[in-house]
């Protein structure tokens, strides 16, 4: 069958070992460490004290009163809520902008498709920090948009665009838009256009053909794209840090802060574990969805 005889278990071990060792030690290892840290107590100068405690998870929801009674503190829950709202907004706007583009690309002749797809992927491979930084040039008080608006006389004083939730949302969309387009394109490209014709033959107008034929067929791609935008948006660090000015926190910036200025490693680890759990659950949904999509295609 191949140049590598399948019988050779030894060779199989030798080939896989480097990858499994490097990722096992330097990826799984660190994840185990923060999992352990999240159940320990913070040492005042950073790092942890090895004493078992649920304190980090408790701190997520409750403050301790002087007499050790729990007081509900929604501050961190608010950060999570803000992250979810911003990630949902970024995902839905990406869908609105990304679906028509994916559809348009998928209905071009094959030669054009490859070129347009490359154009979609190029920004994804360029530096996220730099692409986000470019938005500072556009959004800040003496930035491009405000300069143009004031030159047009539309406004006297610059509008506050940077360091708002809107700026973060724009940054998130800009960061992850290709993740929306590529899976939708992949599912649209497979659609048999004769089905759309059949819909028109049955007196469906364009809107009905879209709603009843194309969208249901593109559903696996839409779900995949939405999850692929939602997940990194939820844990984003660069967009809230640069475009939110570091004051409008999201989960990612909260975690970063615990390991830098706040020096509360157990709490940072606990938040990281919560984020990781949410992401892994979404990944499972994504994998099942992808598996089902393949099953339907095979049928």
């Amino acid at each position: 069958m191949s140049a590598l005889p399948q019988s050779s278990a030894l060779r199989r071990m030798a080939g896989l070992m480097p990858a499994l060792l490097v990722i096992g030690i330097f990826m799984l290892g660190p994840l185990c460490i923060i999992a352990a840290y999240s159940f320990m107590e913070a040492s005042p100068y950073g790092g942890v004290r090895p004493e078992f405690s649920f304190g980090a998870y408790r701190q997520f929801l409750f403050d301790l009163d002087l007499d050790d009674s729990l007081i509900f503190n929604p501050a961190y829950l608010n950060i999570v809520a803000r992250s979810v709202v911003l990630a949902v907004a970024a995902t839905s706007l990406s869908l609105v902008l990304g679906f028509p583009a994916a559809y348009y690309i998928a209905t071009r002749p094959p030669h054009w498709r490859t070129v347009l797809l490359l154009l979609v992927t190029i920004p994804f491979w360029t530096n996220l920090l730099i692409r986000t930084f470019a938005w500072i040039l556009i959004l800040r008080d003496d930035g491009l948009i405000n300069s143009v608006l004031m030159w047009l006389g539309a406004t006297d004083a610059p509008l506050r665009l940077l360091y708002t939730d809107g700026a973060i949302a724009v940054g998130l969309i800009y960061s992850y838009l290709p993740f929306m387009v590529l899976p939708i394109y992949a599912s649209l490209e497979k659609i048999d256009m004769r089905l759309v014709e059949a819909a028109h033959d049955l007196h469906a107008n364009r809107l009905q053909a879209m709603w009843r034929v194309i969208l249901p067929l593109a559903k696996p791609g839409i779900i995949a794209g939405s999850i692929l935008v939602f997940i990194p948006s939820l844990g984003a660090f660069i967009a809230p840090d640069l475009l939110g000015g570091g004051r409008r926190l999201m989960i990612g910036s909260l975690i970063h802060m615990q390991f830098s200025s706040s020096r509360n490693w157990p709490f940072g680890s606990a938040v990281a574990m919560i984020l990781l759990a949410v992401v892994l659950v979404l990944m499972l949904v994504y994998a099942r969805n992808a598996g089902r999509g393949r099953g339907e295609a095979a049928r």
Binding site: M1, S2, A3, L4, R12, A14, G15, P18, A19, V22, I23, M27, L28, L31, I33, I34, G47, P100, A101, Y104, T114, L118, L119, V120, T121, I122, P123, W125, T126, N127, L129, I130, R131, F133, A134, W135, I136, L137, I138, D142, S147, L177, V181, M193, R194, V196, E197, H200, R206, I214, P232, G235, F237, I255, H256, F259, G268, A272, L275, L280
Partner: protein, 282 residues
């Protein structure tokens, strides 16, 4: 293909529509979508263009356009910190991408060509794990890990961290190439009494080379672009270019940042395009 069929089927309707001086009805065409697509690509590329244009602006304020100039590039090039950071970035990316590519090639050979074996999907899952864990989580976890085991190799720490997340990126194109490859050439080599090593060395390896090169290039850009993980893991002496840019941006925008950023953008775009072209030429 399908569009042609649609054209034929709807030609009558199209003719009728034209008589009414409307756009011809083509199955599956949605008129507004072209506009959306233009907006989409404008949104994708306008900020990058803005950055490039400003980097050539001869003005301290970095927002008002005055005159074309390459001063900021010269200044950035003469900045010792930037040069040191660039050298660090190159060293880390070269070592991490090479290591990741070798590791990924070996793993792909086993996972694609080694048949099914117990633990196959587990191994595949482990290789794609760095793609699934949010970057900020990887960053703080790796920081905690290095602190816990007391590993402080300076640049070495960063190289290890980069190698880990480069592996899946190097792996994907190599795996794609290998699964597309016919095994007939290798069978022919074996029929001609080549031993395993010779068949691999003279047949399999050259055939999978485009995938390997593409994978190495993607790993290289992923490494050279990384901010979050490097920011947490890198010590004082091992600042990379993106981490340096991050620091400068946090302190306030200077045109020097635009110049360095443009250079970094150009490198990434060059590499992606090259990797795309290599992978397309089969």
């Amino acid at each position: 293909m399908t569009a042609d069929a649609g054209n034929v089927a709807t030609s009558k309707a199209a003719a009728a529509a034209r008589r009414r001086t409307r756009a011809p009805f083509v199955t599956g065409e949605y008129p507004g979508f072209r506009f959306f697509t233009i907006v989409f690509f404008f949104f994708l590329y306008a900020p990058i263009l803005v950055l490039i244009v400003y980097s050539f602006n001869d003005n301290r304020s970095a927002t008002l356009w005055t005159e074309f100039s390459i001063d900021w590039y010269i200044r950035a090039f003469n900045n010792d910190d930037i040069r040191r950071a660039a050298l660090n970035s190159l060293t880390i990316a070269l070592v991490a991408a090479s290591a990741a590519t070798v590791i990924a090639t070996l793993a792909a050979l086993i996972l694609v060509r080694g048949g099914r074996f117990p633990g196959h999907s587990l191994a595949y899952g482990l290789i794609s794990l760095p793609l699934m864990v949010p970057e900020i989580v990887t960053a703080v976890a790796t920081l905690s890990f290095f602190a816990a085991i007391g590993l402080s190799l300076g640049l070495g720490n960063v190289i290890i961290a980069h190698t880990v997340f480069c592996i899946p990126f190097a792996y994907m194109p190599i795996q794609a190439r290998l699964s597309d490859m016919d095994t007939t050439f290798e069978q022919a080599a074996q029929d001609l009494y080549a031993n395993d090593w010779n068949a691999f060395r003279h047949v399999t390896l050259p055939l999978m080379m485009p995938g390997i090169v593409a994978g190495a290039m993607l790993a290289f850009i992923i490494s050279i672009d990384d901010v979050i993980i490097t920011l947490m893991v890198a010590g004082a002496g091992s600042t990379t270019l993106p981490v340096y840019i991050y620091g400068m941006v946090r302190m306030g925008v200077t045109p020097e940042v635009n110049a360095v950023s443009t250079v970094l953008l150009a490198i990434s775009i060059l590499f992606v395009s090259l990797s795309w072209m290599i992978n397309r030429r089969r």
